[in-house]
Symmetry: C2
Subunit: 366 residues, 2 copies
């Protein structure tokens, strides 16, 4: 490496990753998971129609995907009753966040988020040299008022807000979020990550308003649509903002099978409704399992349930390790005081039964 020259920025980045992948965990033990409940994937699976569409598209995989994601964008436009010019399809929310940060954040630029919120966003901000300012949660909720104040104070270019929230599962009503949107400071773009919106009660998402140039909203096929392995999500925003992505995105970056799968999944709203019903039942099961074991399930508007262990971070970390040692994959929030909790993805009854079986064993282990 002596003679090649990285940027100063790259040289000063840490060699860490936001998440250890579940496959890496399995390789560490040499055993498969009995239940895969740590990455908020949808164990209910994607629509059978999406599976069928992906299988049909497999033999067409010799062709690049449509660089404009035209059919999917048109279908999303119809679905949301907005114009296709207001929609960007990208390589999952992770990919879109990376490009958004790249478009807006130069070294030293201020960005505001909540302390303990999505680490991959922070990873992108650090990766472009941005200065992250973190606002504490308030009662396990992101704190819109405090976030707005901080954004104004530091002159934030981006203000990240996830609703419903990961990792706590909490949420704010559309009314509160709309008030936040209306109060975004001059010069700030609100990044409203709605990855889990399909799991939230009616009245959580404010109406879409694509005239507002100060909000970008992020949606995904990775969560309730059950297509995390495809890498496809989308952003909704004002047309001039959406158009900016064309200057830097990988135009052929969204694959052909991914586009076909997402399109079929979007068209099968019946399946989505079924997953939502199964999810509601699974969250109830998880809350009961938690209570049976002396833990307290926090209310959730997501596809996971965050469980307060009533002790400190060390205890919760040991519990996660004990569950993993028994081949149940879960994760936990990274920072105090949230790290008193573990985070368990909702899944089909068989997975919930495994969790019910193993949780008391893991608690006894520690």
């Amino acid at each position: 490496m002596s003679t090649i020259r990285f940027t100063d920025l790259a040289l000063h980045l840490p060699a860490t990753v936001p998440f250890v992948g579940p496959e890496a965990n399995m390789r560490a033990t040499g055993r498969p998971f009995r239940a895969r409940l740590g990455a908020n994937e949808s164990g209910f699976g994607p629509s059978p129609k999406a599976i069928s569409a992906m299988q049909s598209a497999a033999s067409e995989a010799w062709m690049y995907g449509d660089s404009e994601c035209h059919d999917l964008r048109m279908a999303l436009a119809t679905h949301h009753q907005i114009a296709p010019e207001n929609i960007l399809v990208g390589e999952g929310i992770d990919g879109i966040l990376g490009n958004l940060v790249r478009l807006m954040v130069a070294p030293g630029d201020a960005v505001v988020t909540s302390d303990g919120a999505y680490p991959t966003f922070n990873y992108h901000v650090a990766g472009f040299g941005g200065a992250l300012h973190k606002v504490p949660y308030r009662d396990d909720h992101e704190d819109p008022a405090a976030l707005l104040v901080r954004a104004e104070e530091v002159g934030a270019k981006l203000l990240y807000f996830c609703n419903p929230d990961n990792p706590m599962g909490s949420w704010h009503s559309a009314r509160i979020v709309q008030r936040m949107i209306d109060a975004v400071p001059e010069g700030t773009l609100l990044v409203l990550d709605e990855a889990y919106i399909d799991a939230a009660p009616e009245g959580t998402a404010p109406a879409l308003n694509t005239e507002n140039a100060q909000v970008i909203r992020l949606r995904t096929f990775s969560k309730l649509y059950g297509l995390a392995g495809l890498r496809i999500g989308y952003a909704i925003g004002a047309a001039p903002l959406i158009a900016m992505f064309d200057r830097i995105r990988n135009h052929f970056g969204v694959g052909r099978i991914a586009q076909a799968g997402a399109l079929a999944a979007l068209h099968d709203q019946t399946w989505l409704a079924r997953v939502q019903a199964e999810l509601t039942a699974a969250r109830k099961m998880l809350a009961e399992i938690a209570a049976d074991n002396g833990l307290h399930a926090l209310p959730s508007a997501t596809n996971f349930v965050t469980m307060d262990c009533g002790r400190d971070g060390d205890f919760a970390r040991k519990l996660v390790q004990a569950l993993m040692a028994r081949d149940v994959f879960v994760r936990m929030p990274f920072v105090a005081p949230h790290d008193r909790c573990i985070r368990v993805s909702a899944g089909p009854p068989a997975d919930m039964a495994v969790f019910a079986e193993v949780l008391p064993q893991a608690l006894r282990d520690i």
Copy 2:
């Protein structure tokens, strides 16, 4: 857009894209292509085993892909007889190039390429504010000696070299490329794009040497493996260089179906050999069709044939348009003097027959 703030760099980027996608071309005419021969995709298709692997993986698409691409990296390591630490799997060569430029090029940094070489590389360099220096081709070949001289002169951080070359289809022998590797100036990384290497004769790729920190080699599943729609490629380089990508890449960016398809494709070398044989026949057919119509096919070590029309760029552009008007998708080199040519992907006999039928009609049209 009044109140949100893009970086100066983003604001000064052009709103252009390296390539108009074939689907966009079809939407413009409202008709499907009779032959899709413009994007150097493999009309021979992927291995049936890869199709089968992708179809099986479709029902597992609810899970994120392995963030370490472990199985594929191990298989590639075995295939190339190198260590997995020397292999980076990424979202196609396009995605890897973007991350490589991001790691190394700050605004104003010098980068050298050939005038008329891969525009997506130039797009990434411009996207990070690099200063591109272009060296002319010499007799339709990239010019290693001149590239080296220019890299030294301007203090290039990156020197891009594609072998075999796109868009001319020409190539240099392993001996010449090795001499180039040995002469890379201090402070420069040679980016050796070998997307088409599987289409080249024996003796085109120099031996891999992962001790050399001044070369990164790029390979893909998009071309002869027939998996352009999956978005998966890889880089081979010194371990410390490969490790740097972990600081900025989207760790879950390579999808689950993509990894499964690529792994199965790699394991089916019999299919690859069959495609190589079909390709050789198709290139021969294209050369004959060219000759029958007064064009001259340049020698090709790629999966396309570049045909000299013997006239100027305007003539070739008209020919491309005439072919497109008759629903035959081809492209052509962007810059003079290469733009005297059209570029036609090799494909199965039925596609070659369509080209043979339509080329004389298109020539009569103009």
